[in-house]
Every structure is written in structure tokens, then in C-alpha cells.
């Protein structure tokens, strides 16, 4: 991933301590969030690593007294989005639009990146498989709202969109998730 590229300022004691503490306290949460977004450990590791390098680089932009978790999740979300765009360019794959309804079209999965294809083949759990089939933006909003339990306002800040977009994305994502789960359970019963 790309955050490790480019110039960087040399270590200073405050900055070093800031990063050390950030990794100590929020490393696990950040890594798990990255894992839920990407669906695999290798990409989650890269994403987490890039996020903490970004934390080190932009540590002065963190406002003390605000939620560090929201801040680093926003970094992770942006990096993940950048990575998807980069891969979209590389593989010329189609990424569903934010607000377009994601209809599960039978044999063609909604997962559009090679990673998602891999995850879709590897995972056996219906829920994980269904999550992997959601569009990246939908998966993000479900993870943030239902697993991380952020408010709509916080999710809007993390994802850089309006609360209305969060509402509609979450509603559509959950409706699709329920439908996917239902289909997969029916397939398992056959």
C-alpha cells in the first residue's frame, strides 16, 4: 500500500512516544477494523502498517481530547479507499457506486477485487461470506455501525460523507446482507 512512500520527518521524542502509545493502545482495534474491511490478514497488515505510518507523519493534526479511534479509523478508511481505487485502475475492475442498490445477481458476486474474490471462495461462514460480498462502502458502514457501534454522526466523520448517506448506505447494506444470508442458508439446506 502507498502510505509508506514519500518523504518523512526524522524521529522526535514526542512523536515517537505518540506513535508508540497509539500502537500500544489502538493497534489491536485498528488491525481488526482493517481485517473486517479487507477480509484477509495480509491486506489488513499492510493497511494497519500504512495507517500507523500516517499517524506518525500527521501526528500534529490529531486534536487532543477527540477520539483517537475515530481519527485512525478515518485514516484506515481513506487508505482503504485509495487502495481500492488503485486496484480498480490496475485491474480495470468495477467498483459499485456508493448509493447504487447492490443487487445480488445469482452467480456473479458483488465482490469486485481479486481479494474479495479470494475471500469469497475461502470463507465458509455464511455471514463472513455475505459481508465479503457487500460493496466496500457498504461493508465499512456495517462494520462501523454494527460491530464498532459508532453513531451515525461519527460514521459520517470517519467516512467523509453526510449522515443521510450513512443512513441510506446502512439500510441498503443491511437489507442486502439479510437477503444474502437467506439465500446462502437456503443453498446450504439443499
Amino acid at each position: 500500500m502507498g502510505a509508506s512512500r514519500g518523504p518523512i520527518e526524522p524521529p522526535s521524542p514526542e512523536r515517537t512516544a505518540f506513535l508508540e502509545r497509539a500502537m500500544e493502545q489502538y493497534g489491536k482495534a485498528t488491525y481488526n477494523f482493517a481485517y473486517r474491511l479487507t477480509g484477509n490478514e495480509a491486506d489488513a497488515r499492510d493497511l494497519t502498517q500504512d495507517a500507523f505510518v500516517r499517524v506518525y507523519r500527521a501526528w500534529r493534526s490529531f486534536v487532543p481530547g477527540t477520539s483517537f479511534l475515530s481519527w485512525i479509523y478515518r485514516i484506515v478508511t481513506n487508505l482503504y479507499r485509495d487502495e481500492l481505487r488503485r486496484r480498480k485502475g490496475r485491474y480495470e475492475e468495477e467498483i459499485p457506486e456508493d448509493n447504487a442498490p447492490q443487487e445480488f445477481g445469482g452467480e456473479r458476486p458483488l465482490a469486485v477485487t481479486p481479494i474479495d474474490d479470494y475471500v469469497e471462495r475461502q470463507l465458509s461462514e455464511p455471514l463472513s461470506r455475505s459481508l465479503a460480498l457487500l460493496a466496500p462502502e457498504q461493508r465499512q458502514v456495517v462494520v462501523l455501525a454494527d460491530i464498532e457501534e459508532f453513531s451515525y454522526q461519527e460514521i459520517a466523520e470517519i467516512m467523509g460523507c453526510s449522515i443521510g448517506t450513512v443512513r441510506s448506505r446502512l439500510h441498503r447494506a443491511r437489507a442486502l446482507l439479510r437477503r444474502l444470508l437467506h439465500q446462502q442458508r437456503q443453498q446450504q439446506q439443499r
Binding site: 509508506s4 518523512i8 526524522p10 488491525y31 443512513r167 443491511r174 437489507a175 446482507l177
Partner: protein, 179 residues
Amino acid sequence: MTPHLQPQAITDYVHGALPPAQDALAYAHIHVCGSCRAEVELERALTDLLREDAAREEREFPSLIKAAVWQTIRDAKPTPLARLKAFLRPAIAVPVATALLVGALILGPVGHLARGPVPTIDASFYLDEHDAQQAPNPLAERTTPLQPLETGYDQSASDIPDVAAQEAVATSGGIDVVH
């Protein structure tokens, strides 16, 4: 009975995102409406499923990430500002400044000579100019005196200084001024 909850409102209700008044209405409605209650329970079940799955899948923070982050920071190219700061550290800056100072001292006079002679202005220029400007009558050096105009104009009431007329008279040996 209040109207059924819209699907979007059910999602918002489950996530505690409805405004207080609407939330109270939804709460009251769910207690009397079986179908809406079933929808809410279904949504909550999905949330529970997601959380259980996340808890089951939770991973520890790999220690190699930490090492990789520090390695990336160490290997990263410094910013131009950081490079400048590194260059300006005393071990380098002091010898460089000394060399520049010595160079300026040595090359200073040479540079001055290279520019050639500085153009000068003769002192008499200033003296003459000042003399001309400070003279009580700038016209006093005229060799030919002013001729009075025979226009019938009353010069006694004019702005021409009397000194000029007096000096003109004195230098020419006396000219009758027509009044």
C-alpha cells in the same frame, strides 16, 4: 394505532439514531404492532450475529506490524525541510559559515576593484548649485538688465521683488523706470 414503521426508520431505531420524539413513538408502536416488532427483532438479530462473528474472528495485533512501521519510518526519505535542518546542524554549519566569511573578506576588495572606479562629482558642482539656489536674486548674474515693459502696468503693485529692480539699477548705472 400509529402508522407502521418504515424500513429505514426500523434501521435507525435499532441503531438508536431516531430523534427522541420519533424514538418514543416507534417504541410505543412496536409494543402494539406484531409485524413491526418482528421486523425490529430481525434487525437486532442481524446486529447480534455481526457482533458475535466479529468477536469470534477477533485477532491479536501482530507484533511484526510494529516493527515494520518503525522500519518504514527509518527507511523513509527525509523531507526537504528535514534535510535542510540536518545540513544546518553546527558540525556542518559552522565550518561553512567560516569559509563564507573568509571568502567574503578575501574577495571583498577584489570585488570592489573589479567594479572599476566609482564615478565622482566635482565639489564645485555642489558649491555652484548651492550658490545659485541660495542667492537672494537668481537673476543677479544676468549681464543684461531686465527692460521694463511699457504697458502701463503698475509695477509697484506687482509681485516682482524690488531688490531685483534695485540691483539692476545699481549694475547698469541707472535706468529710469517708467511709472
